[in-house]
Amino acid sequence: MPKLRINDREIEVPEGTSVLDAIFHAGYDVPYFCSERHLSPIGACRMCLVKVGAPRKGKDGDWIRDEAGNPQIFWFPKLMAACTTRATEGMVVDTLADEVRKAQAGMVEFHLENHPLDCPTCDKGGACELQDRSYEYGLFEKYYTQTQNGLKTVLYSRFEFTKRHADKHHKLSEFVVLDRERCIHCKRCVRYFEEIPGEEVLDFIERGNHTFIGSEEIPLPAGFSGNITDICPVGALLDLTARFRARNWEFEKTPTVDMNDAFGAAIWVDSRSGRIERIRAREHPETNQIWISDAARFGHGWASRDRLTEPLLRKDGELVPVSLAEAEAFLAERLSGAKGEEVGLLLAADATLEEGYAFAEAARALKTPHFGFENATRYPVANLPAARYEELLEAEFALVIGDPAEEMPNLYLRLQEFLKGVTPAPRYYHGTPIADLRLEEHMPRRRERLAVFAPYPTRLHRFAGVAGVYPPGSVGALVGALFAILNGKRPEPVPGVPEAELRRVAERFLAAKTRAVVVGAEVLEAPAAAQAVADLARAKGALVFAMPPAAGARGLEAVGLWNPKGRGWEEPGAGLLLAFGATPPERVLAAARLRVLALSHLDPRARAQADLVLPAKTFYEKRGYTVNAEGRVLELRPAPTAPLGAMDGIEALAFWLRGMGRKPPAGHYREARERLHERHKLPLDLPEEVAFWRPKLRLAARPGEDKGELFLAPTMWRARMLADPRVRAALGPPRLRAHPETARRLGLDPGATVEVETGYGRWEARVELDPALAEGALVLPAWGRGAGRRVAYRLRVPAGGEA
């Protein structure tokens, strides 16, 4: 642990700390543009120049000493970039020297040289690092003043020539726009793409004064591109969904949690005048660090358009707006004398713990077998042990069965980190290291540490030492065979995957001291396979990372919403139906006598079949807690965008139960939280770093088996996000991927548009042939519903189309 002196303060920092982090750790400030947390330090912007000196050792191995007997400090001949200089024993750093101040002012001057003065119309204005650093460290009176007509004025630049002009509106994708005039060439975005998601789609083109950021991969692949708008220190890369929507200080900034997937990524919801305008990543060092997926960032448009603002009641076949009192009267009339066991209580996948608790308690009190939540898998994910995401970095080998890039995009980024062999960074007083010297550009990925299997080639396949594609439906066989080999038995053959590959995986798995198993929705839908994974983890000691398709699954199952015997979200049965947050499948609605849906948006199925629709809150607007895939308790805070009268699940349930003349388990959020806490002793008051809730559960798996032929591939994008035309334009029509042989058998032509109908909805899809798929495979994006399942389907060729 080197000890060094920063100005007047003596500090001790871990080995390998950069001078930049040492300065911040000591409580001093130094400006920087090119360094960014989790990216390699490169010393490009030269803003962090400081005066550095260090003692030297003589030939005798002892410090060279001055006359007073102290180690003599040898100052570096020039100022050093603090971000790429390693802090060493006895080092002395001066950040306040006159020459440092002058160098900083000079560098600001250079950075502003070609930077346009369009801050008044720039979306970054007010949250711009260049603006802030220019104010703090730019030219200042002491050095730069001029006297004109006897008046002393401050000079902001000593250069007077026309600024360079370049492309100001270069669309990189539907979501990101690049302004090449504003770019200061810090290279953060270029490094981000190579180092974090591992796709080199941005680079410096040309050189010197002509350098600009360019790409041959336009539009940028949707998935992880949005993070560059967060880390851009200037307004060069901007979020198009929020373009010109507000100045930064006008946003209401709400720190909450993304509930589109089970990772539990921390986000900022920036809203203004009751509309969500922008989502940004919020730093959470232990979960999402500073990254979120494009779906979490850009898929918010649905929440602010066409909201339901009042109850709708079906009258003469039409849904018409009514008062809450009329809705109440309607419910009281229709529910009078209703039997408890007829009632069906269904909850959306992004529900909070409190909502789940209220629904579970109500279902228990009503003694109904009809309750559950959307996208519940056959095997309860709460049965599987949970590991912290950071623990993945300590593993030596990871076996992935599924598609993390789509199922839990942030876990995919963690896997990338794992491939680079980076262990969790030390924490300083200022937090995550800004210039982590362990990180380098183009770090080799240790492919031998990763094995990936999925029913189609995923983004991760490219990085894996062993990568296999099996036909959908063979996941049980795959897990079984691996399990057999690990236990020294003869495996049954797995279609599409040679036994030698499996043996290689098993060998590395056993050779590794710590191992991780990452399983997706498909495994959770095959109870035998999931149970095998659970047994494997127990017997051989492996970290398990399960990626359930329902964001709240772990928590909802644990608070009692797991329903192994009765009818859940999928199966018809309930006569009197209350569904909160999403519309259940058509067959479930059709089987009910009374259909009450609490929704934020009216969808076609609800329009056709609902009897009463109540306005509901989206997850952005809810207060409450959730348990993420690692068992961490995270707090949701409400963004002020819910229409007046929009209900959360607890209120909607109370409304329903009062209609039945029963006392609700909780009338409002506060009460639900207290009851939940009383019942389950949740660590709600602990800081999120240590707040884990992992009750040991042995829930029974739900019976059943998939029999269809169409595989619904998990996607980070949800069906509701497609309400936004920008998202639709970016994603294009869904791709129906088929093995060429399969396509020939079904008479599908590549490029043809066909209508695919499944139990989850109807899509116009474009046929795409993929020889990498297994023979017989037919894959359609799930858009969040029924991900990882094989379903029956009907194909139709629309009039005028061909297939």
Binding site: E199, E200, V201, L202, D203, F204, I205, E206, R207, G214, S215, E216, E217, P444
Partner: protein
Amino acid sequence: MGFFDDKQDWLEIVFRNYPPENRRAAVMPLLRKVQQEEGHVSPERIREIAEILGTTATEVRGVMSFYSYYQAVPTGKYHLQVCATLSCKLAGAEELWDTLRAELGVGPGEVTPDGLFSIQKVECLGSCHTAPVVQVNDEPYLECMNRERLRALLEGLRAGKPLEEIELPGDCGHEVRKEGA
């Protein structure tokens, strides 16, 4: 058909010089091969190289555009590069450039209709003592250029003479010294 389809043996020799797990290190020799044989590196070739090396076209273009040697647009049989940095500029490179443009009737990025010539201003070629300097393709420098020598050069090239056989009128200081030495 791809450019490298019939050059698999050549590729194998090149790849032997680079670590197998990091094929993208071989981007320069591949670019150079294309530039030498086709006179420029087209977007299709960029994509082809990216595919061979297992990287993205963006990265290949980033490397390519860094070096002025690689041309993004087609060049003539003789690509004339006029040094336009300080010493040559002082010695009359601008006039030389104007003459060249007038004689050939093309600007940078264009090729004469007969496909013979294209011109480009380049940064310092490192022969300031014999300024101004012109370079044709990868050949040795043509030094102490002036209008007469330039016309003689163009005439010779048009007549199809190899560069070393073209006689340029007048001489250059160091050639005299060379003879004396």
